[in-house]
């Protein structure tokens, strides 16, 4: 599974660092380093909805506070 996080200017200001670090921690915690590939990207052209994240090409908007919920409701079910 590939998760891509936008690290462009706009998403950066909306907290992409926290989202990246949050996902990195959660992936490590669940021992999913071999299953989930984290990747950065520059602007996805949807700055209004940032922080923009895609999971295998599918768009999601994630806030720094909502990383854990996003991981539990979107990422984990896709793996199992």
């Amino acid at each position: 599974m590939k998760i891509t996080i936008c690290i462009g200017s706009s998403c950066h200001l909306k907290g992409s660092r926290q989202v990246v670090e949050g996902l990195q921690n959660l992936v490590a915690k669940h021992n999913l380093k071999d299953v989930v590939e984290l990747e950065g990207t520059f602007c996805m052209g949807k700055c209004q909805t940032g922080v923009n994240v895609t999971v295998d090409g599918e768009f999601y908007s994630v806030t720094p506070d909502g990383v854990e919920t996003f991981f539990e409701t979107t990422v984990l079910p896709r793996i199992k």
Partner: protein, 392 residues
């Protein structure tokens, strides 16, 4: 036409006599034409307001006269004849060192009562040949030398040699001690400004942080020219993208690409993949990316804004040096390339308005981008860089 590929990197700084707000030393740098640079370091007698006025006057008179095309001898004569000799102490009010660099080929050093300037060549002390003459009853020491790459000149006011008198040393540290000290840093490739700060920090330390005299250092490093090119922002007309890219990538020297959309266009043009990293070396600066064939790829506005902060600090007291000189984030890396490596910088600035950035809730917008380029160029000019900005 430049005769060789050399240029002079000039850096100077002062520390004030303890308790004084004004410095009694003054440095003036004038580029009289494409080929000639004149540096004057003047030290007014005493400290505080009087000394400050005298040294400013001296350096301004000399540099202005030379800039106006008068001969160095005439300027020195005027100064030597004009400067009054203090009744009580029997010495002139302001001493000076003039370094004139012509065509990046020769340096002429004229000194009046300042500590003898030092030249380090290939890391070793090179004693400058001197001729002594008397102009207006004042003993003027004169040297001339053909320049070589990596020559390092160190001019100073006597406050540097007096450092540590009665504290760390009985009679201050000697010229040889200063040479020894600076030889250590010769080969590292520090800029003139950094070398100046290293020496002055040591002087301040020897004074126990309470300088007994104004101390000024001016270093001149002869180095070869290095061009660096920086691309920032997509062009206002989308179709101009390829033109902008071909002009940018045809330039000699290193290439830095700033901005998300910009780097996508650059990667397309080169037919290479854009690979963003996810390492946050600095929590506030977005990660860098990689494109084969580009030396550095970074985010745009936030990164450049930090570079501007570092540039302003560098021109002031350079206290952020330890941050940008070693860190791996995009802003620090751009700073090192622009402040230390480059002598000639070409900016390729795209004027496209990023719709995503026009959100009033975001602290970035089009005007800020243009202002950033203007302000950064100004700072770089003050660092002695040759700047060219092209807009697309």
């Amino acid at each position: 036409m430049r005769k060789n590929n050399l240029c002079a990197d000039i850096g100077y700084m002062s520390i004030n006599h303890v308790g004084e707000n004004l410095c009694g030393d003054h440095v003036e740098v004038v580029e009289t034409d494409e080929n000639t640079t004149v540096i004057v370091l003047a030290d007014g007698l005493g400290s505080g307001v009087k000394a400050s006025i005298l040294s400013t006057l001296t350096s301004k008179i000399i540099s202005t006269m030379i800039a106006a095309g008068l001969k160095l001898e005439e300027a020195v004569e005027t100064i030597a004849a004009t400067l009054p000799v203090c009744k009580d102490r029997g010495v002139a009010y302001s001493t000076f060192t003039i370094i004139r660099i012509t065509g990046n080929e020769r340096a002429e050093i004229i000194q009046y009562d300042n500590p003898k300037s030092i030249l380090l060549r290939n890391g070793e002390n090179y004693e400058l040949p001197v001729t002594v003459s008397e102009i207006g009853g004042k003993k003027i020491i004169r040297s001339e030398v053909a320049l070589k790459e990596n020559d390092l000149f160190i001019a100073m006011s006597d406050g540097v040699e007096h450092a540590g008198v009665g504290i760390k040393y009985n009679f201050g540290w000697k010229r040889d001690d200063i040479i020894d000290f600076m030889q250590t840093f010769y080969h590292i490739g520090f800029t003139a400004k950094t070398l100046t700060k290293i020496l002055l920090d040591e002087v301040n330390r020897l004074y126990d942080g309470k300088p007994g005299d104004d101390a000024t250092v001016c270093t001149v490093r002869i180095r070869s020219r290095v061009p660096v090119n920086l691309l920032f922002g997509p062009p206002s007309v989308r179709e101009d993208g390829r033109k902008m890219m071909s002009l940018f990538f045809s330039k000699e020297g290193k290439h830095i690409v700033c901005g998300g959309t910009t780097s996508t266009i650059a990667a397309d043009y080169l037919g290479k993949t854009l690979r963003p990293n996810l390492d946050f070396f600095d929590p506030e600066i977005p990660p860098t990316a990689e494109i084969e064939g580009v030396d550095l790829v970074t985010e745009g506005v936030i990164t450049i804004n930090r570079v501007l902060e570092y540039a302003r600090n560098y021109l002031a007291d350079n206290s952020s040096y330890e941050e940008w000189s070693s860190k791996k984030d995009g802003a620090s890396r751009i700073s090192r390339m622009l402040f230390e490596e480059a002598t000639d910088i070409n900016f390729f600035v795209g004027r496209a308005v990023n719709p995503a950035h026009q959100n009033p809730n975001l602290p970035i917008n089009f005007n800020i981008k243009m202002t950033l380029v203007d302000e950064l160029s100004k700072c770089l000019v003050k660092m002695g860089k040759k700047i060219k900005v092209s807009y697309f």
